[in-house]
C-alpha cells in the first residue's frame, strides 16, 4: 500500500472513445504500479455508484474520454460522492468539452481561434441544408474542418477541400452528435501543449509537434504507432514556443481547469498560434501527446500521476 491509500483508475465508459480510454487507464495504472502505488482499475458502468459507496477509494484518477468523462458528468458524480479526484471541476469540464463555448471563452482572453459556425442537426432538418451550406462556405471559405461540437480523438472530423463533399462530411459528423462545429482550416504546424499543475500553479510542458504521414492527424494517425512523426520539443523558435506555452496556460486558467489539460493549436506561417481544442482528460495511450511531453520534460508518467493524486487528496473538498 502506498500512502495514497486506495487509488482507483476509472477507464472505459460508454462513449465512442471507450477503447482509447481503456488504453489510457491501463497505461496510467501501470505507471503508478511501477512506482509502488496500489491501484485498481475499473469501468464506469451501472455498478460504479454502488462500488464507490460500498468501498470508497481514497482518490480517483478518471481517464474517461468523450461524453461522461469530459463533459463534467463523472466529475459531478465524484463530487457528490465526496471522493477526491484528479482533474477539473464539473462546470469547467462542461464548458471546455463544448468546443464552441470554450472557443468563445478563450477568444475573450485574447487567443485566436479559427473563424467558425456552429449548427445543429435540427437546424438543417428544419431550414434545409443547401442555403445554409452555401452561406457557410461563403462566410468561412474553403478549406473547412467539420467536427462534432463535443467529442474527441478526431472522431467524426473531416477536412473539406471540395464543396461537393461538404454534405456527406456533415452527415458523418452528425452521426457523433447533435451539433457540428465548422471551422475555416488554418494551414500550419500542428502543436499540442500539455499543462500540469501539481500544486504550484499551471506549468506548460514542452510542446509536441505533430506531423501525420498522411497529412491528416485523424484517428488512424493518432492511434497507429508509426503513422505520425512527433517532434518534442516542437521545432519552434524560442519566441513562438513561449507563445504557445502561454496560450495553453491561459486556456487552462480561463476555462477554470485544474490539474492537467492539453491544448491543441495550429501555428500559422506568421508564427501565430490558433487554438483548436482544449482537452480536460488528455489521452494517455502509448501514442498520446501528453505522455510524450511528460517524458521530454524529464518526468516519469507514474511520478506525475502520483503527484496529481497527492494534490487531489490535499485540496479541500473534492
Amino acid at each position: 500500500m502506498s500512502d495514497l491509500g486506495h487509488v482507483l483508475v476509472l477507464a472505459g465508459g460508454l462513449s465512442h472513445e471507450r477503447d482509447v480510454s481503456l488504453r489510457s487507464g491501463r497505461r496510467v495504472a501501470e505507471a503508478l504500479r511501477e512506482i509502488g502505488v496500489d491501484v485498481t482499475q475499473r469501468d464506469a458502468d451501472a455498478d460504479l455508484l454502488a462500488t464507490l459507496a460500498a468501498d470508497p477509494p481514497d482518490v480517483v484518477f478518471p481517464l474517461l474520454h468523450g461524453t461522461q468523462g469530459e463533459d463534467g458528468a463523472i466529475q459531478e458524480v465524484l463530487t457528490l460522492a465526496g471522493i477526491p479526484y484528479v482533474g477539473s471541476p464539473p462546470g469547467a469540464c462542461r464548458q471546455t468539452f463544448d468546443k464552441p463555448v470554450a472557443k468563445a471563452l478563450v477568444e475573450k482572453a485574447g487567443l485566436a481561434t479559427p473563424p467558425s459556425a456552429v449548427l445543429s442537426q435540427s437546424t438543417f432538418r428544419e431550414l434545409g441544408a443547401a442555403a445554409l451550406l452555401d452561406a457557410i462556405v461563403t462566410k468561412l471559405g474553403l478549406p473547412l474542418v467539420v467536427k462534432p461540437a463535443r467529442g474527441g480523438s478526431s472522431l467524426g472530423t473531416s477536412v473539406v477541400t471540395d464543396v461537393a463533399v461538404l454534405p456527406s462530411a456533415m452527415v458523418e459528423c452528425f452521426a457523433y452528435g447533435e451539433a457540428a462545429l465548422i471551422e475555416h482550416m488554418i494551414e500550419g504546424v500542428e502543436i499540442a501543449v500539455s499543462v500540469v499543475d501539481t500544486g504550484d500553479g499551471p506549468v506548460a510542458l514542452p510542446p509536441v509537434e505533430i506531423v501525420a504521414e498522411s497529412g491528416t492527424y485523424d484517428y488512424h494517425a493518432r492511434y497507429t504507432a508509426g503513422a505520425t512523426e512527433y517532434f518534442v520539443p516542437a521545432r519552434l523558435s524560442t519566441d513562438v514556443a513561449a507563445m504557445v506555452a502561454q496560450a495553453a496556460v491561459t486556456s487552462h486558467r480561463v476555462l477554470g481547469l485544474r490539474d492537467l489539460s492539453r491544448t491543441d493549436m495550429i501555428v500559422d506561417g506568421t508564427g501565430r498560434p490558433w487554438l483548436l481544442d482544449v482537452n480536460v482528460a488528455p489521452g494517455m495511450t502509448e501514442t498520446s501527446l501528453l505522455p510524450q511531453a511528460v517524458q521530454a520534460a524529464g518526468i516519469g508518467l507514474g511520478e506525475l500521476a502520483r503527484d496529481l493524486l497527492v494534490a487531489a487528496t490535499r485540496r479541500p473538498g473534492p
Binding site: 472505459g12 460508454l14 462513449s15 465512442h16 471507450r18 477503447d19 481503456l22 458502468d45 451501472a46 438543417f124 432538418r125 434545409g128 441544408a129 443547401a130 451550406l133 478549406p143 474542418v145 467524426g156 463533399v165 454534405p167 456527406s168 456533415m170 452527415v171 452528425f174 452521426a175 457523433y176 482550416m185 488554418i186 494551414e187 500550419g188 504546424v189 500542428e190 509537434e209 506531423v211 497529412g215 491528416t216 484517428y219 488512424h220 493518432r222 492511434y223 497507429t224 504507432a225 508509426g226 503513422a227 512523426e229 512527433y230 517532434f231 520539443p233 521545432r235 519552434l236 524560442t238 513562438v240 514556443a241 495550429i266 501555428v267 506561417g269 506568421t270 508564427g271 501514442t287 510524450q292
Partner: protein, 445 residues
C-alpha cells in the same frame, strides 16, 4: 490538418530535433502489414461489447446450450486416461482417430473423404491461411462472393492477393457473373488461383447456393480450370434440418473443403480441417508444420472424445433450434419495424442477415449514431475488399436472446429513420468508398 512546409521554416528553431514515430521498427515492416492499422470502426466495437448495447455485430457462437458438466467430465477423463498423448506434441497432419471421425461428420454433407486427405487445423481460419499461403503469390487473383467473409478477406490481403468479387443474389453466387469474372480476369492476363465460396448459410449474406447452381458453378470452374475453396462452417446448421450437399461431394479433386467444429461444438478448442487432393494435402501439412508444428493435441482429443462419447448430433439439433428461434425473432422484428426502402435476406440457417439500407445511406457513417443508440452491427464495407458495401450491414442473431434481438432491431430502426431524415435534408449520397476490414475481434459478441 495540413502542414505548410514554408511555415515550418519561418518559425522553426535552428536545430530541429529528430522526430519520433513511437515505433522503432516502423521502416522494417513487410509490405503486407501496411493495412494493419487502428480503425475508428474497430474502436466502436469496444463499446458494443458492453451489456447496455445490443450487439448484432459479432459472430460468437452461442454455446449457452452446451452441457458443460458433461464436457467437463469428458475433459477430466481425457487427461486421466490419455493425458500422456493429449499433453504431448502430435502429428502435423492431425490425430488419425479424429481424422476418421471428421470423415464421418462430413458424410452429412455428402462428402466422402479419406482420413489421409484430411488435415486438422487450428480452426478453419488456419486452413484459410494455409491454403492461401501455398497458392498465392502477390498479385494473384482470388474470386470471392460479393460480399465475402471478412476473416478470409483479411487473410487474402495479408498474402497480397487481388480479390475480385462476384455478385450474389438470394440463391447465392450468380453463375453468369462468375463466368464473366473469369473471362474478364483471364483477358487481363492475370492468374486466377481459386474461387473462395461459402455456399451454405453464407457469412455475411445469409443466403444458400441452390443445388442447381452448385452443379453449374462446379462445371464453370472445371471448364476454366479454377480450383474451388469451399468453406462450410455452417452446413449442419440448416433450420429445416436438411444439410445442403457440399460442392465437394461432386467435385473431388477440383475442390478443397474447409470444415470447423467452432459452430457445431465450441470455438474454444480451435479445431477445423481441410479435405484436399493428395498433392495439395502434402503441401498443407508441410505449411502447417512450419506454422504451428502440429494442431493442439489436447483440443483434438477433446473433440474426438466428444464425438465418440456424446450425442453430438443431438447437440447440433439443439443448436439449430436455438439459432432458429433467434432468426425468427430477427426477421419478425425487421418485418415489423424497419422503414420502407430497407431490405434484407431471409436465411434458412447459420448466423447472419444481410441488410441493405435505403438509397443514399451509409452504414459505416451511421455506426456511431447506432452505438449512441446502444445497438451495433458490422458495416457492409468490411465484407468487400474494394470499398463497396457501404449501403449494407451484417446483422447477427446468434448470440443475443430473442428479446434483445427485437430490442436491438427497434433501436436500429430508429437510427435508420433519423439518418434518412438527415440525409434527406442534405441530399447527401452514400459517401464512403474507403476499403477497410473493420469487423469485431473474435471475442466480441
Amino acid at each position: 490538418m495540413g502542414q505548410d512546409p514554408d511555415a515550418t521554416q519561418r518559425i522553426t528553431a535552428a536545430a530541429p530535433a529528430t522526430g519520433s514515430r513511437l515505433d522503432a521498427y516502423v521502416d522494417r515492416y513487410a509490405t503486407r502489414t501496411h493495412g494493419m492499422t487502428a480503425s475508428e470502426v474497430r474502436s466502436l466495437f469496444a463499446v458494443a461489447s458492453r451489456p447496455e448495447v445490443v450487439s448484432l455485430a459479432g459472430g460468437m457462437p452461442n454455446i449457452s446450450g452446451l452441457p458443460l458438466d458433461i464436457v467437463g467430465s469428458l475433459l477430466s477423463d481425457l487427461v486421466s486416461t490419455r493425458g500422456q498423448t493429449a499433453l504431448q506434441y502430435g502429428s502435423g497432419q492431425g490425430d488419425p482417430g479424429l481424422r476418421e471421425q471428421i470423415c464421418e461428420v462430413m458424410q452429412a454433407t455428402g462428402v466422402r473423404g479419406h482420413p489421409d486427405d484430411v488435415t486438422v487445423t487450428v480452426g478453419s481460419q488456419q486452413a484459410l491461411d494455409l491454403v492461401t499461403r501455398i497458392f498465392i503469390d502477390p498479385g494473384d487473383v482470388i474470386l470471392a462472393e460479393a460480399p465475402s467473409y471478412v476473416g478470409a478477406l483479411s487473410t487474402f490481403r495479408s498474402y497480397q492477393a487481388d480479390v475480385v468479387h462476384v455478385e450474389m443474389d438470394d440463391d447465392g453466387l450468380v453463375p453468369e457473373r462468375l463466368r464473366e469474372a473469369i473471362t474478364t480476369v483471364t483477358a487481363s492476363e492475370r492468374r486466377i488461383k481459386f474461387l473462395y465460396t461459402i455456399p451454405s448459410f453464407h457469412n455475411p449474406a445469409g443466403v444458400t447456393l441452390t443445388p442447381e447452381r452448385r452443379a453449374e458453378v462446379l462445371q464453370i470452374c472445371r471448364d476454366a480450370d479454377v480450383l474451388i475453396i469451399e468453406d462450410d462452417p455452417y452446413g449442419l446448421l440448416g433450420f429445416d434440418g436438411a444439410v445442403p450437399r457440399a460442392i465437394r461431394a461432386d467435385g473431388d479433386d477440383g475442390v478443397v473443403y474447409l470444415g470447423s467444429f467452432s459452430k457445431t461444438f465450441a470455438p474454444g478448442f480451435r479445431v477445423g480441417w481441410t479435405l484436399a487432393p493428395h498433392a495439395v494435402r502434402e503441401k498443407l501439412v508441410l505449411a502447417a508444420e512450419s506454422s504451428v508444428l502440429c494442431p493442439p493435441a489436447f483440443s483434438q482429443l477433446a473433440v474426438s472424445q466428444y464425438l465418440s462419447a456424446f450425442d453430438w448430433r443431438g447437440q447440433v439439433k439443439a443448436f439449430r433450434e436455438l439459432y432458429r428461434e433467434r432468426r425468427d425473432a430477427m426477421l419478425d422484428a425487421l418485418d415489423d419495424l424497419m422503414p420502407d426502402g430497407t431490405y434484407w435476406t431471409r436465411p434458412n440457417g447459420g448466423f447472419y442477415v444481410w441488410l441493405t439500407l435505403p438509397d443514399g445511406l451509409d452504414a459505416k457513417a451511421m455506426l456511431p449514431r447506432a452505438v449512441t443508440n446502444r445497438v451495433a452491427y458490422v458495416p457492409g464495407t468490411a465484407f468487400y475488399s474494394d470499398g463497396f458495401g457501404s449501403r449494407s450491414m451484417r446483422l447477427s442473431y446468434c448470440y443475443p436472446t430473442p428479446e434483445r434481438i427485437r430490442e436491438g432491431v427497434r433501436r436500429l430502426a430508429q437510427v435508420v429513420e433519423q439518418e434518412m431524415e438527415l440525409r434527406a435534408a442534405f441530399g447527401a449520397s452514400s459517401s464512403s468508398r474507403r476499403p477497410g476490414l473493420d469487423a469485431p475481434a473474435p471475442d466480441q459478441h
